[in-house]
Amino acid sequence: MAELTLTNIGKHFGGAPALQSVTTRVNDREFLALLGPSGCGKSTLLRLLAGFEQPSAGSIRIGNREVANADTRLIVPPEERNIGYVFQSYALWPHMTVRRNVGYPLEIRKLSKSDRETRIDAALEATALGPYGDRMPSDLSGGQRQRVALARCLVSDPTAVLLDEPLANLDVALRASMQGVFCDFHQRTGATMVYVTHDQAEAMAMADRIAVMNEGRIMQLDTPEALYARPRSRFVAEFIGDGAVVPLTGTSHSDSACEATLLGTRLRVETDTPTPEMACLRPENLTIAETGDIRARVERVTYLGGRYRLDLVAASGEPLVTQSNTRYAPGEHIGLALTAPWAFAAA
């Protein structure tokens, strides 16, 4: 097991930058999720870690070993990095049985047949694939294939496991149960894991920390809770969780609190910057109350099961989002009470 260190990584594909000056560290035994919209560079970052791509700038270390350096043109090929990689398409070799697929890394490492059998059995057991060893990949369901892919990378004790949208091809129910499999796997092995996804619910459910990426940069790297409660940019505030971002003015600081004007009302805000310019209003920051701070009109009502999501337009014109336990009709006017929202600098 080892930590992964990226220093000032850049990557171009024929001119267009896919990654720009990414510097970050994945701690030993950590489960890190790379989250972002498609095209943000998260898969490229993962492929750089695996060694499938070479960085155009910067360097990468796995543990104490430098595996890529754009300046010295050092590049350790993937086959010498001892990492595990789980592909979105599973990448099971269709001409090998499940056992052979799982045992192939051990074949490469020239383990004796009995050693191999023991470890294959253990890996199949751990992924609940025991009875399927002699099947061909084509005879398995999507979830089973994914578990074979996981067993294959588990079998050789990799220093880190990289997962590239491994659940993207599964249906919703299977996804939930596979999330459990990944978490168990992480807990049992303590492997350093980097998990690429565009599904924030997936990232929130599993990761210790999440790196939110956009346009080739890491916008914020934090725990899921911190990302939700304390975003540092408009992109992260809007990308993570539900809610609305509104501008604020007239910040004034006192000893322990900060006040500002937003949506035409003066309000206490939470912040850690001296000059916040935006505030993030989560649904739970807005409570429906006739005597509230502001008024808003209901635009659309969506039933979420047990509660309703309301799209609103504030009297001052900003769109807002809240939730309620009762249905409102579009066009209705309601009052909203605000509790201290999180405020951040605009960038």
Binding site: G51, F52, E53, A91, H95, I108, R109
Partner: protein, 568 residues
């Protein structure tokens, strides 16, 4: 995530291997062509085009060029007429027994052209055993109707029908069924669907098929040699053959010019075909899973009968003629129960040492070519797809040349290249190795293209997964790439074997006593008047080919998908 932009990480070992194999492949395929071109434009080592223009201005050259263009052009028209009707009906309608139809239509392509020519002459003409037996033979002294431009055109057309059929059917298969269904929902029916929807969409593949058929017909040697030489009607390939056979290697420079001439016409054809194939990438969206089956209704039975009659006419009847000739004691004797004789077969197969040698040679050459090409093409195609250098791209666009160029052209190129091995007094001319190297050059593309397209469809993650678990280059080649592209490689090998086994054009100029191939033996037997023996050997080859095809067809269900070349 495109991986066309190479994979830098393991590029060092892969790069080295690529340059090694690529160098070898260029030496095998392109060096002869380059040597030929050099010979044609130089005289005594310096650039000199006067000789070039001198040969071009000879009347014999002009008439041969004209004959080549006329026979190849009109032959292509016949191929298009038969092949496209079959392709449209098989691909679009609810005909029964499609697999059998396709199989029978494939046979003419697998039967060597000189056998096609021989079998047709045995079916028609004054000395046809078949016609004599039936009492229908024209009087002795009447001309053999096939010894004419018309005969050459007809047989070229039939010989290459399957090329049109295959390219067109591939294009038709790419048409999503939704496109046709949408036309039917909109109220279009029958002929209108074909005319307004299907034909425009398949036009590019039809035109590509036309171009490649024309090029193949242009390079055909067996048919104009068997039918044209007796009629004094020379095409460019037969003119080259006659010059070379008549005066030996001293006329190399002259035939090099002729070869370049025919090469230019062929390359023009390829460029046209490339152009249309690129155009073919109209973006068709939709599933192509289920084959179309537009009901023919009451017309189905008559259509089926007509198609089978055509098959009988172009396949069964000539074979009957060939068989009949091979079973008489002497040429010209009618076949009756009391005259049936296996003497010809016995003499040809067991007495003549050259036939036995030819069987050994042809088997060895074609199996050897298939094996060597497989070993060369698999890693090369894979590496070329992953590391696109300028050299590999250039090679990719030129590697069809030795196959597309007429066989005689390649043979001349081989003679020029190998008659004196550089830096030595050795010569490969007259040995079996010159034929073997010529086969490698000629059939390189036949092996390379299917392997290449199957590797392109391979999920790059298959290889990356092996890389991530620590497999070095040669392990990945052996454990992942090889087994996954094996079906395509097997299909390529089958095609190489079948075409090399029947090949005449290349070896006609390269053989010498002891290195005859089967094609050469038949040609020589017929040339020296031993028509009965020639028919017997030809029948044997037809049987061998048909048995091979049938075995492959019958085992196709057990083979991985894609191994059988004529079932895409």
């Amino acid at each position: 995530m495109t991986l066309a932009s190479a994979n830098p990480s393991s590029s060092r070992s892969e790069g080295r291997l690529l340059s090694l194999i690529l160098g070898l492949a260029i030496l095998v395929t392109l060096a002869p062509v380059a040597r030929l071109f050099f010979e044609g434009v130089t005289a005594g080592g310096s650039l000199n085009l006067t000789f070039f223009s001198e040969v071009l201005s000879k009347p014999a050259t002009h008439s041969a060029l004209r004959h080549s263009l006329v026979t190849a052009g009109l032959g292509t028209v016949i191929s298009v007429l038969i092949g496209s009707v079959f392709a449209f009906l098989v691909a679009l309608t609810d005909l029964r027994r499609k697999a059998a139809l396709v199989f029978c239509l494939m046979i003419p392509m697998m039967i060597p052209p000189q056998i096609t020519a021989l079998s047709w002459t045995q079916m028609m003409g004054p000395s046809s055993v078949l016609l004599k037996t039936l009492g229908l033979a024209p009087p002795l002294g009447a001309p053999q109707p096939l010894y004419s431009p018309g005969g050459i055109i007809l047989l070229l057309g039939i010989q290459h029908t399957s090329i049109i059929f295959l390219t067109l059917r591939a294009g038709l298969r790419a048409i999503p069924q939704e496109v046709v269904e949408a036309a039917r929902i909109s109220g279009a029916r029958g002929f209108r669907i074909w005319w307004q929807v299907v034909l425009p969409l398949t036009l590019p593949s039809l035109l590509a098929g036309v171009a490649i058929t024309f090029v193949t017909a242009l390079g055909n040697f067996g048919i104009p040699a068997m039918l044209g030489i007796p009629a004094g009607y020379a095409t460019l390939p037969t003119l080259i053959y006659q010059r070379l056979a008549g005066m030996g290697t001293t006329v190399l420079a002259e035939v090099a010019v002729l070869a370049i001439l025919i090469g230019i016409v062929a390359i023009t054809g390829i460029l046209i075909q490339r152009f249309f194939q690129r155009r073919q990438r109209v973006h068709l969206v939709g599933s192509t899973g289920r084959p179309l089956a537009i009901p023919l209704g009451r017309a189905r039975l008559p259509v089926e009968i007509t198609l089978w009659l055509v098959i009988a006419g172009i396949l069964v009847l000539p074979m009957m003629g060939l068989l009949a000739t091979s079973l008489v004691p002497a040429y010209g004797v009618p076949l009756r129960l009391d005259t049936v004789s296996l003497d010809g077969w016995y003499e040809a197969l067991f007495r003549q040492p050259s036939t036995r040698r030819a069987f050994v040679n042809s088997f060895g050459l074609s199996i050897g070519a298939a094996v060597v090409l497989m070993a060369l093409c698999l890693p090369l195609a894979w590496l070329m797809d992953r590391h696109q250098t300028r050299l590999s791209r250039a090679f990719d666009s030129l590697l069809d040349l030795p196959y597309a160029l007429p066989g005689v052209v390649l043979a001349i190129a081989m003679i020029l290249l190998l008659i004196n091995l550089p830096f030595t007094d050795l010569s490969l001319y007259g040995t079996i190795w010159i034929i073997f190297l010529a086969y490698l050059a000629r059939f390189f593309a036949v092996m390379f293209r299917p392997v290449q397209s199957s590797l392109r469809q391979l999920d790059p993650a298959m290889n990356e997964a092996a890389q991530s678990v620590g497999a070095p280059l040669w392990r990945r080649l052996r454990d992942i790439v090889l087994p996954l592209s094996a079906p395509a490689a097997a299909a390529g090998a089958i095609l190489v074997f079948l075409t090399a086994f029947n090949e005449l054009t290349v070896s006609a100029l390269l053989w010498s006593s002891g290195t005859e191939t089967l094609g050469v033996v038949i040609f020589n037997l017929d040339d020296s008047g031993e028509t009965v023996m020639a028919s017997a050997v030809a029948m044997t080859i037809v049987f061998v080919v048909m048995i091979l095809m049938a075995v492959i067809q019958l085992t196709s269900r057990r083979l991985p998908k894609g191994v059988v070349p004529w079932q895409s």
